[in-house]
């Protein structure tokens, strides 16, 4: 079983890819067959992923690779490979499972769309690329799939192609993430040049194994930071986070799948995958295991960068999320904020905690987004929470599942998956020896998260039923079923993720699981619980009687406007970077037309005037001289020819004159 799945790991991304190609080439655009194919592909991929997961459970620290030669160039070979280890396995299961239910949801949500089948083709393509990122055993293969994921995201954000705002958002997403990818690409090139391979693990010769890592020396820091640039772009970290909220222009299932559960987490996954590279940059012993960062002292420069980027992102976006009105945008900023939290966790050494939060987040954020999709659908495509309200009566299933997702996100303890993993992150942060500030700021983030989620809940589901909520209705079973399933998973995961029996933590970090209640009650836990309660309580007090004017806006109008306008970061980028680049483009065009081409034309004009000069030399000096000589000769000739008149008298008189002259000459001489 284990051997079979390792050698057939390639099937996991290929099956959805085939489904996508089949849909594109065979099915009609409106047909249901497309959805059926896509869902079948996803079920198959899920089955295979579960098999892979099962086989990794058998041995602690399981790792199997399957490498192959892709290209022989010169006298060297470029090998790619696939990898199965606990990190891959849990990601596979999460991605295929969440995708499956989002696909099911989409059948209902996209039912009226005229490009129904194409939507499923793109979704399947995305799933294939994302699974490729996860199973790659080569930084190059990971990068290839990474870019394809970006393409899928581009296609799906801009899926409603007639909407100019969707097209602009798609472009913005692709280009912003590509800025980060340039760094990633350079880091990849650098790593390739230094270690001679891009395989992660290759029986001791891989780039993430001791020998290669130690050969990196001082360049490890730079390489790690460059690769981190890619993660910053993809995972929407500050300062490249601006694309993610705009990406909500895409259909809601896309937001749930790509811009919440899976793709945006790829950056976190990437950092976890190349973690040994980050660790070795601090001069620590890389060890043999990527996730086992036991040797750790808090002074690793690239990890410090990761922590601070994560903290800034988490706080900024939580604050902005507090002042948004679009139901999806609030969730988008929440996603950015949670991704920041995961980065903090990785940075302070809590890799397993970060990945566990990634998994839990995948479930509850997908649930929340699908819930928001159900709300939007029920409210006839209205997304402004000011126009909703009181939906809890008309949309009971959506309400209950949404509440579960909200509690998981806010960190309400015991029965909700997100709570435990958030505790773990806070705990790991509190232990970071380099600085206490990330810990305090993370706690502020916890309060803010509870606060903005309470605000959203109250605006959408409680209070008076405002304009768009008047004719709201509960969604079809095909849309509520995935909500229920995901909500059950969120609750069920809280058992799996409980710190009493930290098997997943141990599984991810390759240690033996210890059962014990020791971690259940700790000062850190109590502090963060108190803060969650504070956040929700504050939310209820502040927003309990909220009207269409936000209480915050009434009390601090300037602050609220600052946050509502997303700290004017988009405008700042527009005026600085974008305007600069556009100016550079115009300048290049101008220089081309007038300077460089001007030089060429100047040279041409010079040649032309030289030609003119020689022409006039020719005409006036050389040519004219010859003409004068010729006409002189001609005049000479004419003069003499006139003398040949043929008249005898003239000749005779001339002879007489000549004779007379000769006689006179003779007389004078003698």
């Amino acid at each position: 079983m284990s051997a079979w799945i390792v050698s057939h790991l390639w099937l996991i991304p290929i099956v959805p890819l085939l489904a996508s190609l089949l849909i594109l080439s065979l099915t009609s655009s409106r047909g249901r067959a497309g959805a059926l194919l896509a869902i079948t592909g996803q079920v198959l991929a899920l089955t295979l992923s579960l098999a892979a997961f099962w086989s990794t459970l058998t041995t602690p620290g399981f790792r199997a690779v399957q490498n192959f030669t892709w290209l022989t160039f010169g006298e060297q070979t470029l090998r790619l490979g696939l990898l199965l280890d606990p990190l891959t396995a849990v990601m596979l299961v999460m991605i295929t499972f969440v995708s499956l239910w989002i696909f099911v949801f989409s059948v209902g949500y996209m039912a009226a769309d005229k490009n129904f089948a194409r939507f499923f083709a793109y979704l399947s393509f995305f799933s294939a690329a994302m699974l490729g990122v996860v199973v790659a055993n080569s930084l190059l293969l990971l990068f290839i799939c990474w870019e394809l994921v970006g393409l899928a995201s581009y296609l799906l954000i801009g899926f409603w192609i007639h909407k100019p705002s969707a097209a602009a958002a798609a472009k913005k997403a692709f280009i912003t993430t590509r800025i980060g990818d340039l760094g990633f690409f350079l880091g990849l090139l650098w790593l390739y040049g230094k270690s001679g391979t891009l395989l992660f693990y290759d029986g001791g010769n891989g780039a993430l194994e001791s020998a290669a890592l130690l050969s990196l020396g001082a360049s490890a820091t730079a390489i790690a930071l460059l690769i981190f640039c890619g993660a910053v772009g993809k995972s929407g970290q500050f300062p490249l986070h601006v694309w993610l909220p705009d990406a909500m222009e895409g259909p809601t299932p896309v937001s749930a799948l790509i811009h919440a559960a899976t793709m945006v987490a790829a950056g976190v996954f990437l950092v976890a995958r190349v973690y040994p590279l980050f660790v070795v940059a601090g001069g620590a012993d890389p060890g043999s295991d990527g996730l086992n960062a036991a040797v750790y002292n808090g002074t690793i420069p690239p990890l410090t960068v990761v922590v601070w980027i994560g903290v800034i992102t988490a706080l900024i976006s939580a604050l902005i999320g507090l002042a948004q009105w679009d139901i999806k945008r609030i969730l988008a900023y929440s996603t950015v904020s949670q991704l920041g939290l995961m980065m903090v966790s990785l940075g302070v050494g809590g890799v397993a905690a970060g990945i566990m939060h990634l998994l839990a987040h995948g479930f509850f954020k997908a649930l929340l987004f699908l819930g928001s999709g159900s709300v939007i659908h029920g409210c006839h495509e209205e997304q402004d929470i000011r126009k909703m309200g009181g939906l809890r009566g008309v949309m009971p299933v959506t309400f209950v599942t949404y509440a579960i997702g909200m509690m998981a996100l806010s960190g309400v303890p015991l029965f909700f998956a997100g709570a435990w993993t958030k505790e773990e992150i806070v705990h790991a942060t509190s232990l970071w020896p380099a600085s206490r500030w990330p810990y305090f700021l993370t706690l502020v983030g916890v309060v803010l998260t509870a606060l903005y989620m309470t605000r959203q809940m109250i605006y959408v589901f409680f209070g008076r039923r405002r304009a768009a909520a008047a004719h709201a209705h509960e969604s079809l079973p095909i849309m509520t079923l995935p909500l229920v399933v995901l909500a059950l998973c969120v609750v069920g995961l809280s058992v799996v993720l409980t710190p009493v029996w930290p098997w997943l933590h141990s599984f991810l970090s390759g240690e033996r699981a210890l059962v014990g209640g020791g971690k259940l009650i700790s000062p850190v836990l109590l502090v963060s619980l108190a803060l969650v309660a504070l956040g929700i309580g504050l939310g209820i007090i502040v927003y309990g009687r909220a009207t269409e004017i936000d209480p915050l806006a009434r009390t601090f109008p300037r602050v609220f406007r600052f946050l509502e306008n997303r700290m004017w970061l988009d405008e700042l980028y527009d005026w600085s970077v974008l305007a600069g680049a556009r100016f550079a483009a115009r300048l290049c065009d101008f220089l081309d037309r007038y300077l460089w081409d001007g030089l060429v034309r100047g040279l041409g004009a010079l040649g032309f005037s030289l030609g003119g000069l020689t022409k006039s030399c020719d005409e006036h000096a050389l040519n004219a001289g010859a003409d004068d000589a010729a006409s002189a000769a001609r005049g000479f000739g004419r003069f003499f020819s006139q003398r040949h008149s043929g008249q005898v008298q003239t000749y005779l008189s001339a002879i007489a004159v000549g004779l007379l002259a000769l006689l006179l000459l003779y007389a004078w001489l003698t």
């Binding site: 160039f73 394809l148 690409f185």
Partner: protein
Amino acid sequence: MAHLIAGLIFLPILGALFVSVMPPPYARAVALGCNLLTAACALMLWHGFDPAVAGLQMVSYHEWIPAIGAKLLVGIDGLSLLLVLLTSLVFPFALLAQRMERGFCALMLLMQAALYGTFTAQNFILWFLFYEMSLVPTFLLIKIWGGKNRDRAATKFFLYTFLGSVAMLLAFLGIYLVRGTFDFTALASLGKAGLLSGDVRWLAFAGIFLGLAVKVPLFPFHTWLPDAYEAAPTGVAMVMTGALSKMGVYGFIRLLLPLFPNEIKILGPWLLGLAVCSIVFSSLAAWAQSDLKRMVAYLSINHLGYCMLGLFAVTATRAVPPNEAQAALGGVFLQIFNHGLTAAALFYFVGLLEQRRGARSLGDFGGLMQRMPLLCGWMSVAMFSSLGLPGLNGFVGEFLIFKGSFALAAGFTAVAVLGLLITAIVFLRALQGLFSGPLAEGCATLPDLRLSEKWVVVPVTLLMFALGLVPQFAFTIFNSTVVQMARLLG
């Protein structure tokens, strides 16, 4: 097998004669038939080619004018074969792109013959003959069948490239007077020790450099290109970017780099700087264009800039590790082919849009995806290939070029990757303007891809995918040559 090369060169010439006497309606069919024959020749050449051998193969040699060292010397190595195959691919593609009169077809065939000659000749005089022979048909094609500003563009193109050629010819005459040979192989073996001595070597270098830099073109000798491509009819623009522009890069690889290794090392940073300027400035200029043809033309300069970056990184650096040189050169070779394919496809699509709409400015289009999803879909593939999306052909070549040149010239390469970003911006801007948003005025009745067009588009696109996913089959053609050249140039 050697007669295959002669066949390649003479078949299009015969075809051109034949086209001239045929009734006009059959001209394009005859030209395509002739291309079928040359394609068969090229494939047989490929079949008979031994990829394990590094040097020249199928050499055919006759004395021609012994007094001036002119020989009828042709032969192919991996690079020549690659370019012959590319030419055999681009020409039928271009012939299918538009309606053509009799003279148009005949001139296209003449140009094709000149290209085959350029890519197989191994003696300078013969090479130069073909090199110049390609100019006249191109000039006439632009001048007679071109668009707006065709006279100006054609004259500029001709004079500019001809000036470069004259400089190159003079330089080679100088070299001949000192060294007494015009054979590429013989000259290349003299290069390491210094082909010429004293200051005259710089004169010779400058002459050849100018000729080739104009042809490629390399910044700042590129200004003829946007005008020429803009004015040229679709089919001509396709062969100009697909095959003709490769003559410059080929010339660099065959002539300049092996002949002046020491001089290039001295000028190294300057040359790398020019390549980086080509990459960054031309992609920025492409961003500022609204004429689609002009935009693709600038991106063509940008893509050839990657080739030049790889070549200069290998030759301009001291102490080149062989594996990095192989990576960069392999990438350059592949990029030559990829660019030929992709850029020709882009011009083809722009041509389709222009035929339908009667205009080709970005502002003339909008929302096309609603009317012609197939055309938009396939055109997007070409665009994504050009911006270097993994899985398509453009990525593999660029990745290898950057891999090699990053190890050899990290600073220059780090700036050059900006080109990847700007190219993406340019294409996404075009995609947004053309395909999305509300349907623009005048686009409501445009037809989608026709069956005949699908037969052209699909094979070309499949080739892009094949080269992107399993590039090994292309590498096999030129890998031995790469190894040999890495040793020679590195």
